[in-house]
């Protein structure tokens, strides 16, 4: 384990911070360009991106990569990411293994090459992938630089004249709506693992109604008035639950001047 002292030596400027955590331990022999710590390690788009960064950073020749040196630095970064407990995608480890393999193959004595069918340089495939990735990164930048609708250029739009035959509006059936909901929720369940409980719709519906009513009366509404007896017992309970939910979500405020006075509800207004 490198000591904090070695980190000091490498980066006398300051300690790097990442996700609020102070970075004090760095692999002692890791080459760190002066401004490298500004590069948030999480920002790399994968192992190819990181490798390219290491190579370009030091003006190394991509066609003749000093594989031992680059491997050492790559592993150094991986180690650093580990120490910062960054979640390491499997691809990074796969690349580490690949680099190690290339390195060991480079160390093996090469058999004499027969003219015409040259033994492939073990780095060949890696170089190809790096060049291809670099082209891609370039292309992505080019694409981003194109004038884009909504960002650089805008559709010119005038209000259409009143048309005799109204422009037909899309029709939606209830079935379509239900399937859209199911799809959205099943995806959420898949992606987030978060538990989607089925809340009583009636309570949520009443929450909307109460909010809409409160929006109409800036002076606030009497709590009693919201619990219309005409709703029946179940209705009153639903309204009551809706008010509690709204209070919990801090969407409404309840005001009571003195004990036993009527309670008033106010919408928590946009500007206030």
């Amino acid at each position: 384990m490198p000591s904090p002292d070695s980190a000091e030596r490498l980066t006398p400027v300051a300690v790097a911070r990442l996700r609020g955590e102070t970075l004090t331990e760095l692999p002692a022999d890791l080459y760190i360009p002066p401004d490298a710590l500004e590069v948030c390690l999480e920002d790399f788009e994968g192992p190819l991106d990181l490798l390219l960064y290491l190579i370009r950073r030091q003006n190394l020749d991509i066609l003749d990569i000093p594989i031992a040196e680059v491997t050492r630095q790559y592993l150094g970064y991986i180690e650093m990411m580990r120490q910062m407990r960054l979640e390491l995608a499997a691809e990074y480890l796969l690349m580490a293994a690949w680099l190690a393999e290339i390195k060991s193959r480079m160390l093996l004595p090469r058999p004499p090459v027969v003219e015409g069918e040259g033994e492939e340089d073990p780095r060949q495939r890696l170089v190809e992938r790096l060049l291809e990735y670099e082209k891609l990164a370039r292309a992505a930048e080019t694409l981003d630089a194109l004038p884009r609708a909504g960002r650089d250029v805008h559709e010119a739009l005038a209000e259409p004249p009143p048309l005799d035959k109204a422009r037909p509006l899309p029709e939606v059936s209830l079935d379509e709506l239900v399937s859209a909901l199911r799809e959205a929720l099943s995806r959420a369940a898949l992606v987030e693992h978060h538990h989607i409980q089925r809340e009583a719709l009636s309570v949520r519906a009443r929450m909307s109604e109460i909010l809409a009513r409160l929006a109409d009366c800036p002076q606030g509404c009497a709590f009693q008035g919201l619990l219309e007896p005409g709703q029946g017992r179940r209705g009153v309970v639903v309204s009551f639950l809706a008010v509690l939910e709204l209070l919990k979500a801090e969407l409404v405020r309840a005001v009571q001047d003195r004990a036993f006075d009527p309670i008033h509800l106010h919408a928590v207004t946009g500007g206030a």
């Binding site: 005038a158 004249p161 859209a180 909901l181 799809e183 949520r204 909307s208 909010l211 928590v268």
Partner: protein, 174 residues
């Protein structure tokens, strides 16, 4: 760009990009760096109005502000643009509407959390313009995000008497 013609051209571009009425105050903000006052702006609007005389478009002021519109006389030609079969809403619009219907009142970021993608302003506007959703309040949270709910009109259009009549959905992974 601060020649009168330069101002007119920016004004025209901005009004056409807005696609909605733009108030004088908003226009003054657009020209904040040029230090243009109300009177200069009014002059420019008048010149633009003049520019469109005899054309198929016109500049007019409504309650919401200034807007460029196509003259009523152009209606026969414009009408031929639109297909007679109704267009369809995108998946994104339908899912957003469904989430608002079943989980109202709900904020945009709550919808985004479930859908896993950002809900762009256009989607919300489409549903608002259709009269199916409205803002019923603002949440006590940074940015005070709007809370959306469905409208009376939504119930009418879907043949529902009240929200409780929405069909129940079976939870996924059932």
């Amino acid at each position: 760009m601060s020649t009168p013609e330069g101002i007119d051209n920016i004004l025209e571009a901005v009004l056409l990009a807005a696609g909605e009425p733009v108030s004088i105050e908003r226009l003054l903000e657009v020209f904040a760096d040029e230090g243009i006052d109300r009177a200069t702006l009014r002059d420019a609007l008048a010149r633009l109005q003049e520019r469109y005389s005899g054309r198929g478009i016109e500049l007019y002021e409504s309650a919401g502000g200034w807007r460029i519109r196509v003259r009523a006389a152009m209606a026969p030609w414009v009408a031929r643009l639109w297909p007679s079969s109704p267009p369809r809403y995108s998946r994104a619009v339908l899912e957003t509407l469904a989430l608002i219907a079943w989980r109202q009142p709900i904020t945009r970021s709550e919808i985004e959390a479930v859908r896993g993608v950002s809900v762009n302003a256009q989607i919300v506007r489409t549903l608002q313009e259709r009269g199916w959703i409205h803002v019923v309040g603002h949440k006590e949270a940074p940015g005070r995000p709007a809370l959306y709910a469905t409208t009376r009109r939504f119930l009418d259009d879907f043949g529902l008497r009240r929200l409780e009549d929405l069909p129940s959905w079976t939870p996924p992974e059932a």
